[in-house]
Symmetry: C2
Subunit: 193 residues, 2 copies
């Protein structure tokens, strides 16, 4: 986070949250209405806020120079989506540890210690979740995937130099995955295909 | 969308949505629980789906070669966020028209006819919204900003060659904005700073 982002926000919580209201609470998220007041205008406004766990996803590069993808159904698009492996970070879990864990569970692959690419707010206007992107090099298959009972996914391996093409052609069209891939490519500075 | 993405999804709606349930409905979104059944396992599962309008944001490049940014408060991060101008697409509105409209409302700038960079699912596991990224060149100030009464934002101009640095340094940390910027830079093929 940069100094500007850490500076005092231009709106502040009102009365320590006394006017806030929980609309829905379930195993996945809590939906709330939270009141803030503008430091500029003095005006108060209730914002919808979805409290959702942070997420992590991994660019896993095999010893053969391929990147691991998983294809799985996504209910809100109603389609199968080509993504890099990932999932939710458990409470108090290090995102790098979570990323290696999700990679192993979803694909059966493990590799070098994870390297951090960066962390972004997934959609800070409405969701509290942040998404961390990591790179795991020298990934090799060490186990069978271990999926939750509603998780069905297929693993696909894509040569590193073809990854940008997946974005350009619209084959990868999940914005958080695209942000992670392009950030990795910008950091790597090379395999632009 | 690629052919793979348009292929039959691996899960299908159950009984035409007869088991679905609306949890919350407001001016911004509808939160529902929707039942799908796996074509592979036959297992049914209820997924949370947030029906939210599509969004658009604009890379607006001024006649001086600067990109327009807006800084505004985001309730779910509790911070001010540096973003490119944008907003929700109205029902039946062309995203390119919506992007030019949002640019004008938020900054008072207008420019050449919008060019499409692409459209991504914002977070297809839980939100129906897609985000379209457009480019508007030769932007110049033609009016005063026209903001909603809870919209408070400041406009900042950043030389085109410094935009990648804003992502690398974490000064721009909204994932959808990062996806749009990096996709534009990959398409443009040049101003990498």
């Amino acid at each position: 986070m940069s100094p500007e982002n850490l500076a005092d926000p231009s709106w502040a919580r009102v009365d320590g949250g006394a006017h806030d209201r929980t609309i829905e609470e379930n195993w996945l998220f809590t939906l709330r209405k939270e009141r803030f007041r503008s430091r500029t205008s003095g005006l108060a406004h209730d914002f919808f806020v979805i409290h959702l766990a942070d997420a992590v996803h991994a660019i896993a590069i095999t010893t053969e120079g391929e990147v691991l993808f998983v294809r799985q159904f996504r209910a809100a698009s109603g389609r199968d989506s080509l993504e890099i492996p990932g999932g939710l970070v458990d409470p108090h879990e290090d995102p790098l540890v979570a990323g290696a864990r999700e990679l192993l569970e979803e694909t059966g692959y493990a590799g070098d210690p994870p390297e951090l690419i960066g962390t972004l707010w997934s959609n800070p206007s409405i969701v509290t979740s942040r998404t961390t992107t990591i790179v795991i090099r020298n990934a090799r298959k060490v186990a069978e995937p271990k999926l939750d009972h509603t998780e069905e996914l297929t693993v696909e391996k894509v040569p590193m130099h073809d990854v940008l093409g997946l974005v350009r052609s619209g084959k990868v069209d999940h914005a958080l995955v695209v942000a992670g891939i392009l950030w990795w490519l910008a950091a790597e500075g090379s395999p632009r295909g």
